[in-house]
Symmetry: D2
Subunit: 323 residues, 4 copies
């Protein structure tokens, strides 16, 4: 048995969430500090679900970097491969603005952030070999040298027989243009065993050619992919297997506070059930439930549910009707 159920790689950053919500950021007086960043959220969510989790990333050599590391450690994540930046790069920041449950906006500080300065010589094959899965988040590909570090981690995982999970996690901020994103997404997608993303993110991967889900999965299954999940927002999600099976997942009724964090909580719970061989149908249910729980709370990372919370939620959950 391997030491880690999964290792996530990429950014671990700080969210500054408006304490007073339902107002524009200009009028927000105070912000609450949380750990954020898609792969960090997935790692925290996975640990909350009882998975054994490692993390590969880079943090700033300052108080906010310390905070990120401490929080992850306390969440039970192995932080031995969370490198401290020595070149003055900063912690990525995301200010969130919650105007209303459906109108949310974010303001990101992503210039010269530590996570994008992870270098390929900081990637340790020995560490990756101890995991069942390597979870790659797309944003880490946005800039060098993090880009090369992540491509290297993928090549190593493939060589070492570690399953590669690609969470598309598309954030336009740090990319030069959409075509560049498409090129790097394709490099990882061609080698990934499991791919998870929203329909919009698959459009980015395909550089906006307008494929249907069927065309998308047909193209990707030509390469290494075994399982592909396409999320379609409040309409739920679809999982496709290379053998040709299709599974449908649903979104659940919930009291939405904000839209952030849904994707990361979905991924953590989906991968939990998938790791435990609970079946793809259950994995989609867990993913949907976990997302519904997180969007009803103020934070993303801090609100990640336990298995018990998900199971309790599902006992009474009502599938969301979509017109």
């Amino acid at each position: 048995m391997k030491k880690f159920d999964l290792i996530a790689i990429g950014r671990a950053a700080v969210d500054l969430n408006a304490v007073e919500y339902n107002r524009p950021m200009e009028e927000t007086k105070t912000f609450a500090k949380y750990v954020g960043g898609s792969p960090a959220n997935i790692a925290i969510g996975s640990a909350r679900l009882g998975q054994k989790v490692g993390f590969i990333g880079k943090i700033a050599d300052d108080q906010l970097g310390n905070y990120v590391k401490l929080y992850m450690k306390e969440a039970g994540i192995d932080t031995s491969n969370l490198v401290v930046d020595k070149d003055g790069h900063k912690t990525g920041l995301t200010f969130t603005e919650i105007l209303s449950p459906t109108e949310c906006d974010i303001l990101m500080y992503r210039d010269q952030v530590a996570d994008l300065y992870l270098t390929s010589d900081e990637i340790n094959g020995e560490y990756i070999s101890q995991a069942n899965m390597l979870v790659i988040s797309g944003t880490g590909l946005a800039q060098s040298p993090s880009r090369e570090a992540i491509i290297k981690s993928m090549f190593l995982a493939k060589k070492l027989g570690v399953k590669v999970v690609f969470e598309l996690d598309y954030r336009p901020y740090t990319w030069k243009n959409a075509e560049e994103t498409s090129i790097y997404y394709k490099i990882i997608a061609n080698h990934a065993d499991v791919i998870i993303g929203t329909r919009d993110e698959y459009d980015v991967l395909e550089n906006g050619i307008g494929n249907t889900n069927d065309e998308t999965v047909a193209e990707l299954f030509k390469h290494d992919a075994q399982l592909i999940v396409i999320k379609v927002g409040s309409k739920g999600s679809y999982a496709y297997t290379k053998e040709g099976k299709i599974y449908r997942g649903y979104a659940y009724e919930t009291k939405v506070l904000k839209s952030f964090g849904a994707g990361d909580s979905f991924a953590a719970a989906f991968l939990y059930a998938y790791s435990k061989n609970l079946g793809i149908e259950t994995a989609l249910k867990f993913g949907g439930a976990s997302a519904s729980i997180v969007i009803s709370k103020l934070s993303s990372s801090d609100a990640m549910p336990t298995v018990e919370e998900i199971e309790n939620f599902l006992k009474t959950a009502k599938i969301k009707e979509v017109e």
Copy 2:
């Protein structure tokens, strides 16, 4: 009579002050948002004192940039020359950490910040000509193109007969090295009519050659300077005139909450009294009182006192004994 008593030029940014103080930033849960940045603080402090104030700067095209502009406008400052950045640069951020009244630390986000992208063609001679004084803050010289914009504003002010006030405001973060700072500080100092700074900042200007106050002022008075203020922390301050007079100012007893904002509040109050021809002795008193008031409060900009507050403070103020 001119439209503005003074125009300040340089950064207008955001401070995020720890709401829970006397603890490390790692344990701080929430941060309160204020306008910050030395020249912005001086402008706000001057407006609070009833001065007619203009501002030349550049703000981010986002919610935090809007907030800065709104706050300054409401403070009574003319923001017609506060340019909105169109290239995606962000608002500078300063997280403050208050471990104890004497141990304060800050964490600055100054990469790719809008204020350092003010360009020389955004400097308007017509606008500068409407002021009695142009207040230049040293940090704006740290990077191009703001560096050139500020040197241009200085040349224009000299040509137009507008008094140039140079507040040294040295922040090591964005400078490449100390010698570079010294070179650009000298360019402005050689043309400035009034220079204000701490003894440490004059050492930076002189590239650490170890001059005494007397040597420093002797060298600077060879050029355009008429009045030089050297602050020596809790020991107070000295003002030197080209004619050879020396004035002594004192620090006052106060319940210190944090050390930030002392310099900006000093400058605003000193320049107020100097503008109103209340005499240099009074100017030093006003500066000292204003600083003492601000360091007893949580914010810098928001805490800037009125004339009435300063006068009331001085009625009962006790000069701080220095061993």
Copy 3:
């Protein structure tokens, strides 16, 4: 039948060859101007051999850029996809120094050169589809945006059924470090149908792990490669097919003037024979003969031989004895 036997992609630059040789560059008085750059040389060599050739690249908008385009046009190459740079980038330069036949050195100008500014939106799938082969030269991967343009051209060629030939062409100058090179070489090598390089270049691809030829080809044949050529300098070369056949090529006796241009002339002649289905043995002979001819002459591009010259050379050629 397709319009082009091959399209090469990458740099087209200028060589400045010492007119007075057998002396250090310091004492060289005059330099002769030639077109240079590995893929340009391969294109010129291929055209000289009667192949129908296209080229994808970017040239400076100045006299040296014009010269490159004119020379290639006159050599019979289609230059419709040779884009003119509009951002002030310059033509790459290579000064050659010929101290003696065995001691040659080069001095490269590769900062801000036009060829590395080819962008992915300048890559035209319609154009690539008209070729039997796309010849990718490794140096084009050294920097963005040329890097992404070339990866895109590779993805397009694969999708369109155009054979991808990867000439490793490793030049340390523009790469950040060897590991970065290895990562991008692997991305192309995993998809290439034909790979050509020296043993040293395969070591770069493998990030210096010290594989033997057998280990190298075993690893590469796990992916798309069908044919792999490994050159071992004056000892000749080996060609491996996916089916497991191994062919040996030899170097020939010649009066060596300088060592430059051997690899490009080898590739042009090898690919000519391979295109014409003359058999791999003949292809290796043609490659070796072409290289021997070019290293006996002053220029690289200008000296590229015709089929007749190669055939005549081979009639009397003596295999070089290697102790």
Copy 4:
């Protein structure tokens, strides 16, 4: 008596002059290598005239850098402060194209060139103190860190009582925009004792406001300037002294081969006569004669005349008639 009549500071680079002239560069087959760069040319010209000359600059750590140093050393220039770059920067290159005597063009390689990487801590006050004059060439101000190194050398020269000569030498290539040039030119011009430039270059200094010569000198004499030379091409030149005297210089008839090098040879010969107290009239004559000699020859640096050549030339020289 000081060790050096003058020390020049700034770029020392390589010119590649078309050997076959009266044709476009595309058709030029060979280029001859010479030392170039305005301050290097002035230093070489001064040494040829028997002046004791020092040089402060930075050269590439390669064959072309070596060549520059060797050539200057052999010309009799002290190269102890010619620093060798250790960061891979290259020697600046200027390809010249001589279409006809009046149509000349140049193609410059100025990206990442060693001379612009001279740093302020490589400036040695002790060395500067050994000279009567420090000759600053405007192009060195175009980029950091050379910009700061040169401003520092100017501050040091002023402090040490060394005369500052400012040769405007405006080359648009490396400057971001004309306003930036104007700002840095003003910083030096306000402190320079002697200023030399063409009317076009004074327009750049004044940011194109359209001053007449009289307005230009009136403005500059408000600061440290004692002597100002304004060149007006084939119409000759004017020298203005702070005391109000105006001198007229003339161009001489010559068989023009190309227009390059005229300014540098003028400066060298003018400063020679000025150093030797031969009077400003003679200085203008020497300058004009030296320029006329150089433009009749292929190179700039190599063609710099001796005093004897200038005196011989002047014996028979005819002033050029200007319609």
